[in-house]
Subunit: 332 residues, 2 copies
């Protein structure tokens, strides 16, 4: 009998998730049936969307999330033993997977191609959903042109840092907004962002006026709320805003901010929210392009790795408070 450790969602989050909201249990897995395989988690993902979706999740079921796992046993030739697989298997060490295992459109179940010298954890980051989100969410909605000025909030996160790097590849001037000078140093020194604003210590409005006196053409929004209204108020006519998330309000749905409509009308802005799954026909293109840029040295990646499946909750809570730089993952 194979036993799996599983985090069960016990209590809806009130504000920042608390340790007691999830319970770590052990469960026995049934024997494999034909068409199934047994997989063991190698890397697990913690992402902001988990907090956003939590109010819609059922209690007393495993908490949601994607992972990279290794196939340990198989009764399905599509899932060869020893290969790596990724999918929305939840917060668990062992899972039984079959063709019927349902993922999300943006996070399908698939056996990983050979990553060569690159770490397989990138399937959860730069070469996974965050990478596809950055590529498609930015390019499809913002339609950036060379020479334009781009602002990214949540800039040191998994998606944000990649958006900024793609904007640089496309010839844009890039300003990142994040919450620590350590993050800023990484963005500017390593990733070659043009500028960085620490929203915790600087006046974002004044900083934008100083760093982008020409105005902002594109804004990739991971945070929502007051920072986003400030960015909108500094945009140029016909600016484009891609709304990926609103982490500033995930812990408090009643969050209020100065209204966006003044800027929307005055500058004739276009704002669009998206879920990456809408572009499922373009997902493979995004993966290939990100891989090409990584291999060419044009796109860098960074991971904040927490060791130990038992520490998933801690990694999750820390990520929600901005402790991670780059992609937050847990090594099982």
């Amino acid at each position: 009998m194979v036993k799996s450790k599983v985090f069960i969602f016990r209590k809806h989050f009130d504000g920042l998730p608390k340790p007691g909201d999830l319970e770590l249990v052990e469960e026995e897995l049934p024997p494999l049936k034909d068409g199934e395989c047994l997989v063991e988690a190698v890397y697990l993902s913690v992402d902001p969307y988990m907090r956003a979706h939590a109010p819609n999740l059922r209690l007393d079921t495993p908490f949601i999330g994607s992972q990279v796992a290794i196939i340990k046993e198989s009764k399905n030739s599509k899932f060869p033993v020893g290969k790596y697989i990724t999918g929305m298997f939840g917060w668990r060490t062992h899972s039984i997977v079959s063709d019927a295992t349902i993922g999300w459109p943006s996070m399908p179940t698939y056996v990983l191609p050979d990553f060569g010298k690159l770490p397989i954890s990138l399937a959860l980051g730069a070469l996974g959903t965050p990478g596809n989100t950055a590529y498609l969410g930015f390019l499809e909605i913002c339609q950036p042109k060379s020479g334009e000025t781009v602002v990214v909030s949540g800039a040191a996160g998994a998606v944000g840092n990649q958006v900024g790097q793609i904007a640089k590849i496309k010839g844009c001037k890039v300003i990142g907004i994040a919450g620590s000078d350590e993050k800023g140093k990484w963005l500017v020194d390593d990733l070659k962002f043009d500028h960085f604003i620490n929203y915790k210590t600087q006046n974002v409005d004044e900083a934008l006026k100083e760093l982008a006196p020409e105005g902002i053409d594109c804004y990739f929004d991971n945070v929502g709320g007051e920072i986003s209204t400030i960015v909108l108020n500094n945009m140029n006519a016909y600016g484009r805003v891609s709304v990926c998330g609103s982490i500033s309000g995930y812990n408090d749905r009643s969050t209020k901010a100065s209204i966006v409509q003044f800027a929307m009308v005055g500058k004739q802005l276009k704002m669009e929210g998206f879920i990456t799954g809408r572009w499922k026909d373009k997902m493979l293109d995004a993966f290939r392009k990100n891989l090409e840029w990584i291999n060419e040295g044009k796109l860098k990646y960074k991971e904040t790795v927490t060791e130990g499946f038992e520490n998933m909750f801690t990694a999750f809570a820390e990520m929600l408070q901005g402790a991670n730089i780059g992609k937050a993952v847990v090594k099982a």
Copy 2:
């Protein structure tokens, strides 16, 4: 010597405009030069945009606004005596106009075509900028399809009522939001809106869920703020939002509301702000189509007329508080 009464902008508005903020003076006009004509105001417009733009206006100059005037004297063959003309001449009874008189792209200076039996005041309403705004701002951005559900805020105003009627012509289900049951009665009984919500006496969220259980596809936003966030939260996937104004915040720029980003992402909404002048090549089409619909009886209009140039300020302040039904105009 011709004398003109003029309202001079003396003091920037703090909240709702106060009578002392504008001063009514008399000034002498110089004799006409070649190329000029003298016009006398017949109808003057009071519109929400005047409040929105006020912070950008220079003090001690005439307050902005469009009017329909009659040409009294002329030294320019393009401006024949006795014809009606419209333009951004400001809050004044008499003006000197020439080819160099600069309007806004959305409100150019032009000699009116023959309106036949229709009142010339419509050049400030259903057949003027509000009409063009309704036609272009709604159809170009919302791209409504027959059978879709459309919500209009500020629904009994000059632009809002026409948007709702155009949506009905296009085969949509239309819900109007406004601030009095008298307005609602007009929208539903006369203009054939499907439903009306009085935001002052009803819970807008509950009312929308009851009246549009199928969800909202298009939202034409005149008000911004909390009502708009509530509408967004009730929209369907891939809904379209046309942002025309944000009158809820004109008297207080620091207005806050629940953030829009949850709905923007969750429903993958597209929101776009606009200024009608962007479609200057389509303005004549809009005018012709609105005129055709009026002549066919498909499009109705209503005006709230205040008598007397001296009462412009009162008409303006009342309009900002929602006292008007349909287009607010002043008969000089």
